[in-house]
């Protein structure tokens, strides 16, 4: 007994020694010299002090050996109530709620929870749409038909009140037609600031201008009520009821009633309201103002078309827009901007500066806030959320969703709805919530950067964009080269169209009388080991034939001679052909593709994503996802046989179901066609694809697909980091499983775990004598580390004098990483309190950061 005790005691000592050896080594605190900002007697000063800092020894990170996704399994489920979703997140019943929550009380619960983190996105914006017709058909007066009356609405509406009180802080007040989360906000920050000052809330001023205009229009004030021809002037507010726009519509109605108008509040849902503002002539008088709301799922890189879109008949082709009558000056600038009639970015930005005050004065659309949404996630997980598209719109979620402390595991993602429409790559569901699991499975050659909207490579090694001299195209990233050339001639052998009857491509030489020129040529070079490194989820190797098939289908479905023709695709193909000039595969080792077109984006990186056969992100090889040629075939045969159709138009016309790769009667039929394809070793579009596919390969692929269907019960293939393991449509559940053969390492996109929006601190003298030079420091950091200057796109400043007028503007000078400097000549500044506003935009996160510093100018 005694011996046993001694033995146990001895073992305990040994174990404790071993455990102690595993403890981190104790390190003495290190003394470092730091520059810190301290406040002394109410004054902010910079001091150099010696501080003791505990040295943290970070363990050497283990190299990542895992391929593909971090998680083993992602289960998608439905949850329509954000409130319940938050409760379920707190209890751990779900891990992510893929929805942008803008309801303030629900958001407060998220902010207060220590179990839930969240990602902020800026994808929505609201405005008042004013009816521009001065006199309705019944002879009644519509004061919104008067531009100066409309302009007065700027002063009548307190945007900050709407954003903070009505939207509960889930919005950012906005004055101008340019989205806050866009590259252009920083480019023209000066004029935006001017507009914000000019049109700040001022009800008295609004009343003055309204009174003046109403009298000018022939109206009279009687007993506190505006009348016209003896009748009260009625304003019809077409107010949406689904969200905070009900209160906002009421707010404007209240403000107008305060000024003496009789307001009829016409509450309507989205569908009901469209019978008025979309379908009817504005002269019918069905509305005077409408509470409009818009959503964007992508960070905008180019807002130059905003003026044409929102203020001129160049916008939508519906009666409301056709009734717009902007000033000639505004129309001309808007027209020039939308048609890219400028040679340099500076010229373009100046045109926006000119258009802005004209548009604000015209004011047929009055923007009042950018919505802020938050997507909650349990705090032990992280994901690369898109600054505009949130979590559900993030292209990189399959590669970045993970538990922070471990590799693998299962996460449950809830979303308001799923499997809303049939999934098929040619013309299937494009619902935002269906797109999220689809992105997990489909794979792509490029992805949009979630923080900048610029495309980054995945299967591509490099790309070169050749642009005609004079086009305002720029580039930001190194993986893309940009070259300007005098002329780009389309090569004779480039494929420029499709002959559906003979099932061969039509070359540029055959399509055009003489070889055309193109405005841009994009050369995409794929990774050296592509396509060998990429397999479809049934194990079939990716091949160039998959890319060619995608391109064929984009033509063939709109050609009358085709067995899969649908007239619904004809207008789309015609508009595509109006700019598309040709494409060709110039090499298969490495795979190299050239693409010629007259269409282009301002960013060279974003010209890569425009070509479907290049295996892009949005869409994929097909309009709604990627597919291998062999899993297109069963549906292709089924449609040719009149049993199903890829698109809704043809399906309705034939009175058959729309092709669904996940479930339902068409999937059952497709299984039969797969057997036919296998038995006959079908090679689709054989006159063309016969050059790329052998019979043996076809049989092998069909066998792979058959085995895959046997395992999973569906036919949806991709090359992404996850494959669809099982779909349960009635139960509303979808299971995605990690695809072990995905070629990239799991940490390839780890840098996108958090939006690197710089934190900005301004420092400088609180008091400056007029005429003295004043130097202000701009400190930029992220997570305590100085922000590299080379990563900053711009640090610009605006100075507003004591009268509130814009006194000067310029760019801050870089000093060292994380520090810029603004040097001001204050001789022209009047005495009083001035403001220095600094706008900083990172190349790595396209959200402008505004910081204001107040200083006093003395005589």
């Amino acid at each position: 007994m005694y011996k046993k005790l001694i033995t146990i005691f001895g073992l305990l000592i040994v174990a404790s020694l071993a455990l102690a050896a595993c403890q981190p080594e104790e390190v003495a605190p290190e003394k470092v010299i730091e520059t810190v900002i301290v406040e002394k007697e109410g004054e902010t000063i910079i001091e150099t002090v010696e501080v003791e800092k505990e040295v943290v020894v970070e363990p050497t990170p283990e190299p990542v050996t895992r391929q593909g996704a971090w998680l083993d399994t992602v289960v998608f489920v439905e949850e329509s109530s954000p409130d319940t979703a938050v409760t379920r997140l707190e209890t751990g019943d779900i891990d992510v709620y893929a929805f942008s929550i803008s309801d303030a009380p629900v958001a407060d619960r998220i902010y207060e929870s220590d179990q839930i983190d969240y990602y902020t996105s800026y994808g929505s914006y609201n405005e008042f749409t004013f009816n521009p017709v001065l006199e309705f058909e019944d002879g009644s007066l519509n004061p919104f038909g008067d531009p100066q009356f409309r302009e007065a609405m700027h002063w009548l509406v307190d945007r900050e009140y709407i954003a903070q009180e009505i939207a509960g802080g889930m919005a950012r007040a906005r004055w101008v037609p340019i989205n806050f989360a866009s590259a252009d906000t920083a480019r023209v920050a000066d004029v935006i600031a001017q507009m914000e000052i000019k049109y700040a809330y001022d009800k008295e001023k609004a009343q003055e201008q309204v009174t003046e205009r109403m009298e000018a229009l022939g109206a009279e004030m009687a007993d506190g009520v505006w009348t016209y021809n003896g009748e009260p002037v009625e304003i019809i507010g077409l107010i949406r009821t689904e969200d905070e726009r009900k209160e906002i519509g009421d707010y404007l109605a209240n403000q107008l009633e305060d000024l003496g108008f009789t307001v009829i509040r016409d509450y309507k849902t989205s569908a009901e309201s469209q019978t008025c503002w979309v379908s009817q002539q504005p002269s019918s008088g069905c509305f005077s103002y409408y509470t409009g709301g818009w959503v964007t799922t992508q960070i905008s890189r180019d807002e130059a078309d905003a003026f044409a879109t929102w203020y001129t008949p160049l916008g939508w082709g519906i009666p409301l827009w056709q009734a717009y009558d902007p000033s000639e000056e505004l129309y001309e600038i808007a027209d020039a901007l939308v048609n890219s009639q400028f040679d340099t970015m500076e010229e373009r930005n100046n045109m926006i500066r000119e258009a802005m005050p004209l548009a604000m004065a015209d004011n047929v659309r009055m923007f009042y806030f950018d919505g802020v949404g938050i997507a909650p996630i349990r705090s032990e997980l992280s994901v690369a959320a898109d600054l505009s598209g949130s979590v559900y719109g993030a292209a990189l979620w399959p590669h970045t969703l993970r538990f922070k402390d471990r590799v693998g595991g299962e996460a449950t993602v809830a979303m308001p709805s799923m499997l809303t429409e049939p999934w098929n790559p040619v013309d299937g569901s494009n619902w935002v919530y269906d797109m999220m699991p689809m992105r997990g499975a489909k794979g792509a050659a490029v992805y949009p950067d979630p923080f900048t909207g610029l495309y980054i490579p995945c299967r591509l090694e490099s790309a070169t964009v050749y642009a005609q001299e004079g086009l305002p195209i720029g580039k930001t990233m190194d993986w893309v080269s940009l070259e300007f050339v005098d002329e780009i001639t389309v090569p004779a052998d480039a494929w420029a169209d499709w002959d559906a009857e003979n099932q061969v491509f039509i070359t540029a030489e055959e399509r055009f009388e003489e070889l055309p020129t193109a405005k841009t040529k994009v050369v995409m070079v794929y990774e050296e080991d592509f396509p060998e490194n990429t397999t479809w989820h049934d194990g079939s190797p990716f091949s160039v034939a998959d890319m060619v098939m995608g391109m064929i289908m984009s033509f063939d479905t709109a050609k009358e001679a085709s067995s899969v023709f649908s007239e619904a695709y004809v207008p789309g193909l015609e508009s595509f052909l109006s700019t598309f000039k040709g494409w060709r595969i110039t090499s298969t080792d490495p795979v190299t593709v050239e693409y010629y077109t007259d269409a282009y984006s301002l960013d060279a990186e974003n010209n890569i994503n425009n070509f479907r056969a290049a295996f892009p992100n949005e869409g994929g090889l097909y309009a709604q996802g990627s597919a291998a040629w062999h899993n297109i075939v069963p549906a292709w045969l089924g449609e040719a046989n009149g049993e199903m159709a890829f698109g809704p138009d043809k399906a309705d016309k034939l009175e058959v179901d729309r092709t669904n790769y996940l479930a339902g009667p068409t999937l059952e039929a497709m299984k039969g066609y797969l057997e036919t394809a296998l038995a006959d070793a079908v090679i689709p579009y054989e006159p063309t694809l016969g050059d790329y596919i052998t019979e043996e390969e076809a049989v092998a692929r069909y066998e792979n697909l058959q085995a895959f269907v046997g395992r999973t019960g569906h036919m949806y293939l991709g090359t992404g980091a996850f494959y669809i393991q099982k779909a349960f449509p009635v139960e509303g559940t979808l299971i995605l499983q990690r695809y072990p053969d995905y070629p990239d390492m799991a940490d390839r996109y780890s840098r996108f775990a958090e939006a690197p929006i710089p934190e900005v601190l301004l420092d400088g003298p609180g008091e400056v004598a007029a005429g003295d030079e004043a130097v202000f420091d701009v400190f930029l950091d992220f997570k305590g580390e100085p922000y590299p200057n080379e990563d900053m796109d711009m640090v610009t400043y605006l100075v507003f004098d004591a009268t509130g007028a814009l006194a000067m503007k310029g760019d801050a000078e870089p000093v060292e990483d994380g520090q810029f400097q603004v040097t001001l000549d204050t001789s022209d500044l009047p005495a009083g309190s001035s403001k220095l506003a600094v706008i900083s935009v990172s190349k790595r996160a396209l959200i402008p950061v505004f910081e204001v510093f107040e200083f006093v100018v003395t005589e």
Binding site: A271, T275, N339, D649, D652, T733
Partner: protein
């Protein structure tokens, strides 16, 4: 729908009621044919009214046109696709117009509503439910038949479990209370009747908070665990687990009022003269209950039960939404929101047929279970 035109003639003796030979068959056949014609006419009227209401007398066409133009304009004008951005304003407008025309044609909006309304009626009456306009079944089919059939099993499970449990529990408890009038349990049920003023979904919310949110012993909702178990037995057990809260909500919300109704019903019947007479004759309580109280009450009990069963077809919108239960109620609610006439009409036509058939067969069931009831002309003594 239509009223039940069976005549109760208490003076007619059993022998007279049975009739004899072929005259009875002819009388029943004639009566059945007449009833069928009346019921069919009622169904036609009801369906056409449904078509008109579901389409708001044709106004839905205007809504659809607006939606189509708005959706296509959004796709064209707000697209970030440089190919589309490059098009001129006139080209974009032309593109939108062409696509709008195609879409309107696809949805049949190129035909006047009045013509389409009769097509809807004809298809509905022949049970050619056709294709939905926007809605999809969960498996992605637009066939109305599949949209409804896919959602039927979950609704049957939920409403079958909830209402049938409720029905029989209320029936037997009501009977028990009528026998124990004035007991503590009787007084308790009477006192609890006001709790039935709140709907099932209201109790559902509380049950979710308590059992899913706080105690975390039962799921928040849904049909089955996610991911669903692959083993069938485990799947069934998982469904049962998910059934507990919604079924409890149905049960709690209606148990007091249902029991109270049955109790009152039985109390009234137990005070009939013939019951008093039987008691005076010394017939046992059991026999009185079975022969003198329960049997004459069978027709209304069966009526209530059958109407309850066919009401399952319409589901329970809010309860199913609260529990995220993929039933017919949710589907119908969605269809109404989308103005999806084929689904609304399809759902209603089946309900109308079920109701008409129930009413038709109830006539015969009454005659079978209640000797005082006779079918046909001989019974008509108005």
């Amino acid at each position: 729908m239509s009223d039940v035109s069976v005549t109760l003639d208490e003076e007619t003796t059993l022998e007279e009621a049975r009739g004899t030979g072929t005259s009875t068959v002819a009388r029943v056949a004639k009566y059945a044919a007449f009833r069928l014609v009346i019921l069919f006419f009622a169904v036609v009227v009801a369906i056409y009214l449904t078509v008109l209401i579901a389409n708001m007398g044709g106004y839905v066409d205007e809504i659809r046109r607006g939606e189509i133009r708005n959706a296509i304009s959004l796709q064209i004008y707000m697209s970030e696709d440089p190919e589309l951005k490059k098009l001129s304003s006139a080209e974009k407008k032309e593109l939108v117009d062409r696509r709008v025309t195609i879409e309107e044609k696809r949805r049949g909006l190129d035909q006047p509503f009045i013509i389409r309304s009769f097509a809807f009626l004809k298809n509905a009456l022949t049970l050619n439910l056709g294709f939905a306009e926007d809605m999809m079944s969960d498996s992605g089919s637009k066939q109305v038949r599949l949209i409804l059939l896919e959602r039927l099993p979950p609704t049957l499970i939920l409403w079958g479990a909830g209402n049938i449990l409720l029905f029989f529990f209320a029936l037997f408890t009501g009977l028990y209370l009528s026998r124990n009038y004035g007991s503590f349990l009787d007084k308790l049920i009477v006192a609890l009747v006001p709790t039935s003023s709140a709907p099932a979904w209201f109790y559902g919310l509380f049950l979710i908070i308590i059992f899913a949110g706080i105690l975390q012993v039962l799921p928040f909702g849904g049909l089955v665990d996610a991911p669903p178990p692959s083993n069938k037995l485990l799947y069934a057990l998982s469904v049962l687990k998910h059934l507990i809260l919604p079924t409890s909500a149905i049960f709690i919300s209606s148990i007091a009022i249902s029991t109270f109704n049955r109790r009152v019903f039985f109390l009234i019947y137990s005070q009939e003269d013939y019951v008093e007479m039987a008691k005076a004759k010394g017939v046992s309580d059991r026999t009185i209950e079975r022969r003198y109280i329960l049997r004459p009450t069978l027709p209304p009990i069966i009526t209530g039960f059958l109407l309850l069963v066919i009401a399952i077809w319409m589901g329970a919108t809010i309860l199913e939404t609260v529990f995220n239960w993929p039933g017919l109620g949710q589907a119908l609610f969605k269809a109404i929101g989308l103005f999806d006439t084929p689904v609304i009409v399809g759902s209603n036509v089946i309900y109308a047929y079920l109701l008409a058939a129930t009413v038709f067969f109830l006539d015969f069931i009454y005659a079978l279970v209640d000797p005082r009831v006779r079918i046909g002309e001989q019974g008509r003594k108005v």
